[in-house]
Symmetry: C2
Subunit: 530 residues, 2 copies
Amino acid sequence: MRRERFLPGTPAARLALATAVCFGFVAGASSAGAQPTETAGTADPVDRIDLVRAFRQENAPAILREFRELLAIPNVASDSANIRRNADWIASALRRRGVLTEVWTLGGAPPVVYGRLGSEDAQRTLGIYVHYDGQPVDRESWSSPPWEPALLTTSLENGGTRIAWPVRGENPDPESRIYARSAGDDKAPIAAVLAALDALRDAGLTPTSNLVFLLEGEEEAGSDHLGDYLRDHRDELQVDLWLIADGPVHQSRRPQLVFGVRGYSGFDITVYGATRYLHSGHYGNWAPNPALLLSSLLAGMKDASGAVTIADFYADTAPISDEDRAAIAELPDYDSVLRRELGLHSTEADNRPLAETILLPSLNVRGLASAAVGAAARNIIPTEATASVDIRLAKGDDPEVMLDRVEAHIRTQGFTIVRDEPDLETRLAHPRIAKVIRRSGYPAVRTELDHPAVASVKEAARRAAGEAPLMVPTLGGSLPLYLFVDVLEAPVVITPIANHDDNQHAPDENLRLANLWYGVDLMGALLTMP
Amino acid sequence: MRRERFLPGTPAARLALATAVCFGFVAGASSAGAQPTETAGTADPVDRIDLVRAFRQENAPAILREFRELLAIPNVASDSANIRRNADWIASALRRRGVLTEVWTLGGAPPVVYGRLGSEDAQRTLGIYVHYDGQPVDRESWSSPPWEPALLTTSLENGGTRIAWPVRGENPDPESRIYARSAGDDKAPIAAVLAALDALRDAGLTPTSNLVFLLEGEEEAGSDHLGDYLRDHRDELQVDLWLIADGPVHQSRRPQLVFGVRGYSGFDITVYGATRYLHSGHYGNWAPNPALLLSSLLAGMKDASGAVTIADFYADTAPISDEDRAAIAELPDYDSVLRRELGLHSTEADNRPLAETILLPSLNVRGLASAAVGAAARNIIPTEATASVDIRLAKGDDPEVMLDRVEAHIRTQGFTIVRDEPDLETRLAHPRIAKVIRRSGYPAVRTELDHPAVASVKEAARRAAGEAPLMVPTLGGSLPLYLFVDVLEAPVVITPIANHDDNQHAPDENLRLANLWYGVDLMGALLTMP
């Protein structure tokens, strides 16, 4: 029954709507079809979302045709020529819909597409952020070419087979999937908002908010220039709320809104033994073993329950609020399903809910290396051992302060911290040496669940989904959304639409059509929220 | 002054001796030069070693010429044709000296050269073990071709330059070095014993012991067939004492006798997280981190002082005897030099002497791996973490029992031990899983320092070196000498002659001439000990 969630009401309701609205073409035709407009604010919200839903049902073939065009343009951030083609395509698509559009550039960085659509009786200014670049592809691992969009009956894992793209009058199965790079991450919201604009115009409605569009082309390459773009264009980017249209919905397929991301920090640590490999027989029990020293050091950073034991690690972390706990309590209990899928008998902190654990900062050993294991192992005492550690930050945690605390902990374990490979004199001067390389990071972002803007967004998502969305206090992952908060001084809400099993960042990325339709409905609802 | 140690007495003494003895040619000529013989046992031991010394001084060019011939034959165990050439060369060289010789084969394994030389008034039967194979070479890393022996003024590190091989009447500097694979490890003792046999014959002396020669061609490849050879030829190999002519003298250049080797055991351990890499943001703090689990497990195996904390790890270890402690007290304090050379501020067990620590079993993490570090590191939770561990055994320790104790320790830490990659059901059934692969091992060997045979050997080495040899209770390293003890039921004494800085197993292996001369003298003294 779950697959019905994103489907519009009953067949009867659909029929009634189909006769009640007037359909234009999607792109060019619809934006040219000058319908008499009314301010959406005066219509009933439920009516409005039904109008959007009816439009995208009848115009599915045209919406998909336009989406295919966009998906067919290769979009790796380093591919400057094609990245520019994406930006131009998007700018042009927005312009056709009456959006004032600019393409910003900054040195050789991928351009930002900026758009503005004013509304006379706007209640607010709403920012919509999407990124149009995608992860690089390993062509060999894809079942079909990543930039030749293919429509399949269902997912490949479930035996999906290729079908023809629908033509006018055909209504594709919402379980069918579009296979292409960025189908899910993150071109889907572009298709969704374009279709929503068409639907509104077609219904003679204007958005209830001023709209500011910000489309980035460098997200998958690290958003290195996003901060500069935001600082350079601070004035044009003043909004009341940023909608970050990215990421997947819940694993249960229920739609969700996400109100934060974790920050990031991290370090690489190397500890040292002798200056050369030593015969483990001749020198074992005598020469210090760096693999063991590092093991002890890392082991001392977390206790058996998974709590980080570094002093003050949690000192600045914002406490979990009653609203957070209430929202987490509403989330489906998906942990046991995940555990089973991942082969985990149990998880840290006595199986505390995943959604709760990510409200705390984490410390994760992402890699460990010392000499060799397996066939290459030799009977030696390693010269050094290295770990790479990442730290996820919760609201309140400062990336540099966290690293200071880690370093203080390392010092309490008797280590002298150095920044470069230690020379002989340094080695001889200190019993234990740790080279610590601090990686750059950024803080977490959270919009409190009782923020005034949240209620409207939640209601819009409820109307689009036909049920209340899951309210997720934060993503476990990190995105540099602090830039929106720090530079633009506006709150953010993440509005995901893609299916969780969209192979994001991986070969055979795909988008489930039901999720695209939810995206159109969600954008329609957000653009017309009171 | 240290370089003088291996030089024969004073120039005057040398001159006196040169006129007192009659010189033959080395190889063919000397073995054919039928001198009237007397039993060495009736001559004064000091006189006998002076005869040997004088002989090898005057015949140095011929001794080196023969050694060069042997060093020129490539000797990697897997190179069957050349290994056979080595065996034939050695058998022929022994035969020329009156030794009854056989070349034993076993399937495709490198042959063993067996020799026997009887003596009418023999006090005992003495076994002499040498291996004639060498480590494989990385040709590019050598300064000159490994099987084209070169004579240098001194070591390459000290600026040694190539010089001509000496001709009759020339007396090469004892600091010069022969560069060639196996110059030190382990063809040097072959040259030494051949020269010693020549010297005795030349002086009209016969050995005081029956001699049994055992020359192995597979040591550097793991001695896989040595046990079978010994079992197949148990009767021919009955001796009172085995001299294991292998390894280097002390780092201080003082000669040493070694009375044991450590045994070996080891295991590889892998612990598990989720079945696939997990995003460290989405799942960090929730999914168990195998790198951290393994770190904790390893860290719990040794305490801060370096003592192994696995229950009963030391339970069967033979106690350190008063003789051991006395012998260790006589050893030069070389630890601080080593520490400085190796860049170690301090060592385990509060800087306890190296020679004492190797009388205990050790546990060494020889390699560690989990996901990736450095540029390849990603923000994931690893799926597994692996460590490779070797255990060196002291006398009394059983390799399998030690592994049982390690496994018991792992179990006390909450791990279920498996032998194969765990499947999903296994993973779900147990909170912590460790795959433990036990490597095969063998026990340590020690000849107690108060063994009756030890005094004679020590006195022989004293006569050869001109000072009492260091008495080393055990090597830190492992050799399968238990085969001699278990299969042949005879004690062993290791009689090293090579310089410690001979680049054993490495490119530019070399032998310092002073060490070769000590070897000839030592063999002469051992062959004539009362």
